[in-house]
């Protein structure tokens, strides 16, 4: 038994080592593709850990990614990069904590409404601030970060996030989240402090999103509110998590990898029709794959056993 676990861990560590070595082996374009994949793996896994389990659907991924982007855009001239990368998730955590406290004590509808509008709200606030302070919507990021650095940072983030979700899923916290998602009244009356669990997990996963947004922003030199707070990101993360299957730690990553490739292809071929294609792709998933790919695999496994 212990040997099997040892072998499994060995394989995982080896895989991570190989992945870490990728940037020196492939072209810059491929690295860029991998960067997108790693970023979305983190985003989708973090999203699914809260929204997938508790069924409180957050549509605010883009808002938190944008918070990370703008933290870098505003502070990178004044503070060293590691400090900025620590501040970004802290800001995301604080914002999510506030939203969580206000809306997660009530029924899920209020939470959805709030997260639905959050990206627009923050975008409008940023626009207001920029117009009044800097007189321009454009922001420039002058951090010299190589593709390799961004890649390794995102790889580290993805490993921590997926490992963290895997570990927490088997812990009392993961169990409490599942119970909340299955029947919150039962959770309350069985002694779970549902508000505390929901708020903390929402804030933590949002902090992850802000960190990813901050690291990703290092690829760009120019950012403005429309680029920084693009609701399509929320939608893409949602699709990936749902496609991969939200029940398992690996599910969203499974959804992220092919979809990043697909979306790369779509946005290259149909740059203006991208949103429409996404929407249609999504409707297909909701109707034909309600359990996601993992759900399909589970059903297939059950069928094999019978």
């Amino acid at each position: 038994m212990a040997d099997k676990a040892f072998v499994r861990w060995g394989i995982v560590l080896a895989a991570i080592a190989v992945l870490a070595a990728v940037p020196v082996m492939v072209s810059a374009y491929t690295v860029s593709l991998f960067i997108s994949m790693l970023a979305y793996i983190s985003l989708a896994t973090a999203w699914a850990f809260f929204s997938g389990r508790t069924r409180y659907i957050s549509l605010a991924t883009a808002a938190f990614v944008g918070i990370g982007t703008y933290t870098v855009a505003v502070l990178s001239d004044h503070l060293p990069l590691p400090v900025v990368l620590a501040i970004a998730p802290a800001v995301g955590f604080a914002v999510a904590f506030g939203i969580g406290l206000s809306t997660l004590r009530l029924s899920g509808v209020y939470f959805v409404i709030f997260t639905f509008g959050l990206a627009e709200l923050i975008k409008q606030l940023v626009i207001w601030f920029e117009i009044n302070q800097t007189k321009t919507l454009a922001r420039y990021i002058f951090v010299n970060a190589s593709g390799t650095l961004i890649y390794e940072l995102l790889l580290a983030t993805a490993v921590v996030v997926v490992a963290g979700v895997w570990w927490l899923s088997r812990s009392p916290l993961g169990y409490a989240l599942r119970v909340i998602g299955e029947d919150e009244m039962v959770a309350r009356h069985a002694g779970i402090d549902t508000t505390r669990v929901k708020v903390l997990v929402f804030a933590a996963t949002s902090a992850v999103m802000s960190l990813v947004g901050a690291i990703l922003s290092l690829r760009y030199t120019y950012v403005d509110p429309n680029i920084g707070f693009n609701s399509l990101v929320s939608f893409q993360v949602l699709i990936m998590a749902l496609l991969g299957g939200i029940g398992r730690p690996w599910g969203p990553a499974l959804g992220a990898i092919p979809l990043v490739l697909l979306f790369e292809l779509l946005s290259g071929t149909f740059p203006h029709h991208f949103g429409i294609a996404l929407g249609l792709c999504f409707v297909v998933i909701v109707y034909y794959l309600p359990g996601g790919v993992m759900g399909l695999i589970d059903r297939w496994r059950l069928w094999l056993r019978s």
Binding site: G108, F114, F235, F274, G279
Partner: protein
């Protein structure tokens, strides 16, 4: 701009907010669908009015003869073929709500994407009946007054229809308890579809009215959906008068905020009001108990 003018224009816009909240009440209260693509019908109505007026010199109000039936039929089709299968599939109300939110979120991107492809992202506007009118000593544009009057009339008609006709009473019964309604031989699916479609039609009207005096682009759907959601929560789901009053409250709050602080912070004011209501009285400002 004098304070009185600000408040007045807030009231006039607030009438529109009350109207769109009524439409959402039909979709969420009766048809029980949280439709995140709700604002897209408004955007469609605004663009039809714009194209009818700028391309063919047709009165924007007349464009409603086109946009309203299209919105009605479109929403009906969406309810019938996209949303009803979810109802059948859902194990309970929570799962249904989650599924509905996800699907309509997807629809939002489809419609917004189509509009962006067709018409681009720039803001559009046109001038129509922008004559100054004197009301209580303040100057106000005639088109705003007209929009307000139209919104009020439509709201009153809706209110009367729901209160005084058999069809309306049946719909209200569905809003209170769809299972019980079914037991007294009310055709819940058909009337829910009707309610949903009517909600969409109302948005098309609102879009036409709003386009007369506010600029818009392909992406404004989300903003109006948000406002409708916030007003419905403030006024109480299913409470028509409450929604109208909450709409006026939102309009005035926005106008005061624009006048006293900054016109660029309307969404912040929306959310601040929303948060306040959530923290103090989540069941709605105007509901009892």
């Amino acid at each position: 701009m004098v304070l009185l003018e600000a408040v007045l224009s807030g009231v006039l816009v607030g009438g529109m907010y009350g109207l769109i909240a009524l439409g959402l009440n039909l979709q969420y209260g009766i048809a029980r669908m949280m439709n995140l693509a709700y604002g897209e019908a408004l955007m469609g109505g605004a663009f039809s009015a714009f194209w009818f007026f700028t391309l063919w010199r047709i009165d924007p109000l007349a464009s409603m003869l086109f946009s309203v039936p299209v919105a009605f039929v479109g929403n009906w089709l969406i309810y019938r073929y996209l949303l009803t299968p979810l109802v059948r599939r859902a194990a309970n109300q929570d799962v249904l709500e989650a599924d509905t939110i996800l699907v309509t979120f997807g629809l939002l991107f489809v419609f917004q994407g189509l509009a962006l492809v067709q018409w681009g992202g720039e803001y559009r506007g046109y001038t129509y009946l922008a004559l100054p009118v004197n009301v209580l000593g303040a100057t106000v544009a005639f088109n705003r007054l007209l929009a307000f009057a139209a919104a009020v009339v439509l709201a009153l008609i809706l209110y009367w229809l729901l209160r005084a006709t058999r069809l309306g009473t049946a719909m209200r019964a569905i809003a209170i308890d769809p299972v019980a309604a079914q037991l007294v031989a009310i055709d819940v699916p058909r009337l829910s579809a009707l309610a949903f479609a009517t909600g969409g039609a109302i948005m098309a009207v609102a879009g036409t009215l709003v386009s007369m005096f506010l600029s818009f682009n392909a992406s404004i759907g989300i903003v109006y959906t948000l406002k409708a959601l916030i007003v419905v929560i403030m006024g109480g789901v299913g409470r028509m008068l409450g929604c109208l009053m909450a709409g006026l409250l939102l309009g005035v709050a926005e106008a005061l905020g624009a006048y006293l602080v900054d016109p660029g912070l309307t969404l912040a004011i929306n959310f601040a009001l929303f948060l306040l209501v959530l923290l103090v009285r989540p069941q709605g400002l105007f509901s009892r108990g």
